[in-house]
Amino acid sequence: MVNSEETSGSRLERVLRAGRFAVTAELDPPDSADPQEVYSAALVLSSVCDGINATDASGAHCHMSSVAICALLTRAGYEPVYQVSCRDRNRIAIQGDLLGAAAMGVRNVLCLTGDDVIVGDQPEAKRVFDFDSIHLLRTAAIMRDRGQFLSGRELTTPPRLFLGAASNPFARPYKWRPLRLAKKVEAGAQFIQTQYCFDVPRFRAFMEQVRDLGLHEKVHILVGVGPLRSERAAEYMRTRVPGVRIPDPVVERLRKTPKKLQREEGKQICIEIIQQVREIEGVAGVHVMAYRQEELVAEIIEEAGLLPRPYQPGVEPPGRQRPRRHPRE
């Protein structure tokens, strides 16, 4: 790897560096001020994955903030992946939040451009986009590696971070996507979580180009996967969710399945995709996003043969065992 020394103390980073096939999963952020809702959602995910992603108002829909979710998760010994988008905050707010998150024990940060306000339920909001995702990545790397804010002002203690970025191999211009990935690696990305993969041949072509550029040796690539609940959900996702491509044969397969069994079929498709992408050289793991179907995540990960995970929640790696604790039982 390009970044040869471990930078962050992140468990996810340790799993990836050890060459183990990693699993991360997305937490459904609550529309609530009750921390218990975060913990119940995390409990389902924590024993089946190496990192729990806290989304930053994805789809421009407001939920509990990602920095707060991450702070709650680290308190309970979970391993969060803090998603930061450039849509809502300028460079001053973003850098402050990165320090705050690191102070709360957050080690993994996923740097995103962010969905536009127009796709959310408050499209009249002001879009910020002071940074793009590459500026965000580089700034986080500057804070970590140089111990400075972007302005050059010194930090007394730099944040220890494992830096990630997103990639969408399924959006045009296809040939540019691996090059954009190269830019992100140059800007500081150490891991990548991709958009939902339903089109395995397209993803294979993408990975081929990624390998030609030697990027698979510089960055850990986790493929985004998720179950489709029904044919209707698939239609909705491919027409309404920005950047998601679902090829016709996948939708067709759901259509041919009786309504009652579509959910199960969607799960099977997801498991098959995991098994297919796992065989592709340069794939380091999967990122499971099961919007409003969190109960399926554990089944998918188990049936795809990805259990047990190396670290259990709240437990330090072997050698430094600590009793499991929860802030509230």
Partner: protein, 174 residues
Amino acid sequence: MPLSTDDRPRTTIGSWLRDRPRWLERAYRLTHRLFVRLHPLIRRLGYGRVERWLLPGEDLGKKIVFDCRMCGQCILHSTGMTCPMTCPKNLRNGPCGGVRANGHCEVKPEMMCVWVEAYERSQKMATYGDEMMLLQPPVNRRLQGSSAWINMLTGEDKEVPAGWVGIEKIEIGD
């Protein structure tokens, strides 16, 4: 820069010219050379004064051809002669993940993605096409509304925050 949702149809002369990136690239090189040659004179006259004379013409010309947003730190030649500030998210380093299946913009479905066009045009460019791979620094919002040509001469458009220094020149790939 928060963008107004500006829904004017794209100028036809502009889009016709933008699809000839090699001409534009040549025009850019010649203008660049001209400004560098005139630099001593401009310095003597005073940057501020020349900017006042220059600005209306620069604004109009670039608006017609590029739908320019006057960010004051022009990187057109590094982005396929396609203005990155016309991207509703103001992305300076490439397309977001929201590009639609037909190559149109996530935010404005009627508009082609600025970066899809930029990429295609950069492929036709002889001199600056590879500059698409440069890591572009964050936008200096204070330069909004000023003359990019004058900022090029004074070097203000190249100024980056102290933490970023030494990064902006990095080139990626082969």
